[in-house]
Symmetry: C2
Subunit: 214 residues, 2 copies
């Protein structure tokens, strides 16, 4: 049987209804539910109903920063591509990724550190509220944690969602339970798509896209 052609907004609406139904009697606080469901929508992986950790007020702090025109810093061009820049721009915000800058590559090589670590240093020098969306590099989270400890940056929110098998869990544990506002994908799972989905879940709570109801 041929699938019926539906417009993306209609597909998204039906998808969220299915996700809500399959979550059954699981309940989440307002704001948190939207994040959990959007990550499941992005991955079709219900493990995220259990493995996202939110610091108190993380969602509200993230939304407040975005409303004030925050800069979203990603650690991959893939996450950068996934963040809704048009929605960000409604609030005067923008998204940046320093990973592909030749300067960053050169400095990383000279110092024997990762490009991700140097990218975090670049981001720490930005003005205005900054929301970090890390979906790939544990070294980004580790360096970011050092910069916070040294008082060199005070993120509005850290989305910690590197994926993988080496140093990933440890890098996330630096944030869980810390005073830095955070949303962390615990365990091995995560990814650039997850990091971008969390940013978008916050943005779409502030701004309803044309043709989309949530």
């Amino acid at each position: 049987m041929k699938p019926t052609i539906l417009q993306p907004a209609e597909i998204e609406k039906r998808s969220f209804a299915i996700i809500t139904e399959e979550l059954g009697n699981r309940t989440f606080p307002d704001g948190v539910a939207e994040v959990v469901k959007r990550v499941i929508h992005t991955t079709a992986d219900f493990d995220y109903a259990d493995n996202l950790a939110f610091s108190p007020d993380a969602v509200e702090r993230g939304k407040q920063a975005l409303r004030q025109g925050a800069t979203v810093v990603t650690d991959t061009n893939m996450a950068l591509a996934g963040v809704s820049k048009t929605t960000l721009a409604k609030f005067g915000g923008k998204a940046v990724c320093f990973m592909a800058d030749p300067d960053v590559a050169r400095e990383a090589k000279e110092r024997g550190v990762t490009r991700a670590a140097v990218s975090m240093e670049r981001a720490a020098a930005l003005e205005g509220p900054v929301l970090f969306a890390i979906g790939n590099a544990p070294t980004a989270l580790i360096r970011l944690h050092e910069l916070i400890e040294a008082g060199q940056v005070q993120p509005a929110l850290v989305i910690g969602a590197p994926v993988g098998f080496v140093n990933v869990v440890e890098s996330k544990e630096l944030f869980i339970g810390s005073d830095t506002p955070h949303i962390v994908a615990c365990g091995r799972k995560g990814g650039s798509n997850v990091a971008a989905a969390i940013v978008n879940a916050l943005l779409y709570q502030l701004y309803t896209r044309e043709g989309f109801e949530s």
Copy 2:
């Protein structure tokens, strides 16, 4: 305890060793193993050990097309960002995504179809071998299937990895068992990251990156 800082190539090597170990006595044909492991590396989701479907010779056909300088067509800018363009370029290949073209948006609106469907029509007109890497839109796969049936395009390989809950499974089933060379993420799971990882898994079998052993 502070995680030790490792370079990305070293992290990747250790990660693949862990994945291989945890796959235990599961075996895959040469070429297929590299794809399965890279998708698990990208998602930390071992479900992909079971849900990737390969048509006969899919890996060889994909590699052959890439070696000939194929164009990789994606259905999101996120997948486009994830594909290793520098590796593609070693063989004279490139990656393209038509989703954000104003022309595509205009035509889709006029005809009441999705941008993804129009994007596939644009791609069908490309010269040379084309490898489709679809990680988001079921309508891309559905329209692509129609174009193939109508003899308007003969893909070198279709990577079918839309993620989600509506029309997704059905869109993938159009390809499973078909004569079109395909690698499909069966079921609901997939994503732009998965589609890009499959392309890269083929590319890295052809070209070893500096500092990387696989």
